[in-house]
């Protein structure tokens, strides 16, 4: 463990490097911008843009990491999970108290009871093994290969936990998630956002209404057509200054969170280093609206 003095020394070193690199980046961006402008003026009329080839592995450009519970030593007890058809579903939305009724309306076909409550070294092969103790249901309006729900009770009352399958799934474009799995398009009830400063530094969440839903739908359409990418350094992306957090509430009571980060990145909880990269102006416009 570092002493306070050692930590401060490390912090001040990191700070100096951080600001130096930021200055360098700004200079590079400025230089590249000037050079690009000069070149563009010269060759614009003869420029031909070939479509980018997507390198595909099997049928999809990208696959999420497989979740192996037996290797999640010390961490699996934080990961609310359910094993179903050899896939590990992880916790997403929870309904209880005032939202319980909405959650109950989502419960469909009863699959069975969770096997046992496990905290560590869970067996990924054991059907219906779960951290939760409850009854497993299909969720109305969603494919069982993507989303399931568990109904349970505790001292605080009834609850419904939704769990989503991001275990080794294949993705090409945003549509594979936005349309195919989450059914967002055409089902939006309300869209709100939090500024990044509020999300990051304030203890009290302040949500603002996203009033221009037509513009937001255009954003979603472009998002659906944009490709998934896997980034090498999450830290570099999450530390960027201009960000926005969007919450899409659907008519069925579910909510999806999108985090927009300058540079065209859109992250969705559960996907780790895999995110959608947008190049369209609508991304910049939407991000600007979240400031």
């Amino acid at each position: 463990m570092k002493s306070s003095e050692e930590m401060v020394k490390s912090l001040l070193n990191r700070r100096d490097i951080y600001f130096k690199e930021r200055r360098k980046k700004r200079q590079v961006i400025l230089s590249v911008g000037v050079i690009t402008l000069i070149i563009s003026i010269g060759i614009f009329s003869t420029m031909y843009k070939s479509p980018k080839e997507v390198i595909k592995l099997g049928n999809y450009a990208i696959y999420t990491d497989d979740i192996d519970l037996s290797k999640s030593d010390g961490m699996s007890d934080m990961l609310g999970f359910l094993v179903y058809h050899e896939h590990v579903y992880t916790a997403s939305l929870k309904f209880s108290g005032s939202t319980l009724k909405e959650g109950k309306a989502l419960l469909g076909y009863h699959i069975g009871k969770t096997k046992e409550i496990l905290s560590e070294y869970a067996d990924s092969q054991q059907e219906l093994a779960s951290l939760y103790d409850g009854e497993v249901y299909k969720i109305k309006g969603y494919d069982e290969e993507f989303r399931l729900g568990i109904y349970g009770t505790d001292e605080d009352g009834e609850w419904i936990q939704l769990l989503d399958n991001y275990d080794g799934i294949g993705l090409n474009t945003g549509a594979d998630l936005i349309t195919k799995r989450l059914h967002i398009l055409g089902n939006i009830e309300r869209v709100t956002y939090r500024t990044h400063d509020n999300w990051n530094y304030e203890t009290e969440a302040i949500y603002h209404e996203f009033k221009d839903l037509d513009k937001f739908n255009t954003f979603l359409e472009v998002l659906s057509q944009s490709s998934f990418i896997k980034v090498d350094s999450l830290e570099d992306i999450y530390e960027r200054d201009v960000q926005g957090h969007i919450y899409i509430r659907l008519e069925d009571g579910t909510t999806t969170e999108l985090r927009l980060i300058e540079g065209g990145y859109v992250t969705i909880p559960g996907l780790g280093p895999i995110m959608i990269k947008m190049n369209d102006d609508i991304f910049a416009e939407t991000l600007k609206l979240c400031q």
Binding site: M1, K2, S4, L11, D65, G74, D77, D197, Y201, E204
Partner: protein, 184 residues
């Protein structure tokens, strides 16, 4: 203005020395708090350093609506949650490292908590679920008010009240198993 807020203002005014005051005052408690999220003392220490790093590079505005400490803990919690969200699938702690980590954790607990009874209770808390551990830690070990804890943990007053009740019940049964009484 509490002392943390004063140190932070001094830092923003260009006094790097104030950083040592902030780090000395809050480092150990924040490490133990974030350890209750990530259950890895080295990772918790890195996340605490990242929390301070965020303060000194992004220089966020401290509004003074809550104490500096609860504001800092809420930022630390965001850093930890962000990390967990995006790394939980990839995290492994090799078994051979667990023992030495435990020794370091125990030594930090001893220097921070000092009293034997507090140490025992803190150890029993480790077997509770994450929310229970966190609420008990913030209220009984860090001395935050219920209002401050509801802000840090992003829970409503009612949710916090229920959570605290259940956490105390769970801890009570753990203490009974160990033959301890539950006087506060």
């Amino acid at each position: 203005m509490d002392s943390g807020a004063k140190y932070y203002k001094d830092y923003l005014d260009g006094h790097d020395d104030a950083l040592i005051d902030i780090v000395s005052e809050y480092k150990d408690g924040l490490i133990l708090y974030l350890n209750s999220y990530v259950k890895n003392i080295h990772l918790a220490e890195d996340l605490v350093e990242d929390t301070f790093f965020r303060l000194i590079t992004k220089r966020p505005r401290y509004s003074g609506k809550s104490s500096f400490k609860s504001w800092l803990y809420a930022i630390g919690r965001n850093v930890a949650i962000d990390y967990i969200r995006h790394n939980s699938k990839m995290l492994h702690t090799p078994v051979e490292e667990v023992k030495s980590d435990k020794l370091i954790e125990t030594s930090l607990e001893k220097s921070y908590l000092k009293e034997e009874r507090k140490l025992t209770i803190h150890r029993l808390m480790q077997s509770l679920n994450e929310d229970y551990r966190n609420v008990l830690w913030l209220i009984y070990f860090e001395g935050f008010s219920h209002k401050e804890v509801s802000l840090i943990m992003k829970k409503s007053d009612r949710q916090l009240k229920n959570l605290l009740y259940r956490a105390k019940q769970s801890l009570k049964s753990k203490m009974e198993e160990e033959g301890l009484n539950d006087e506060e």
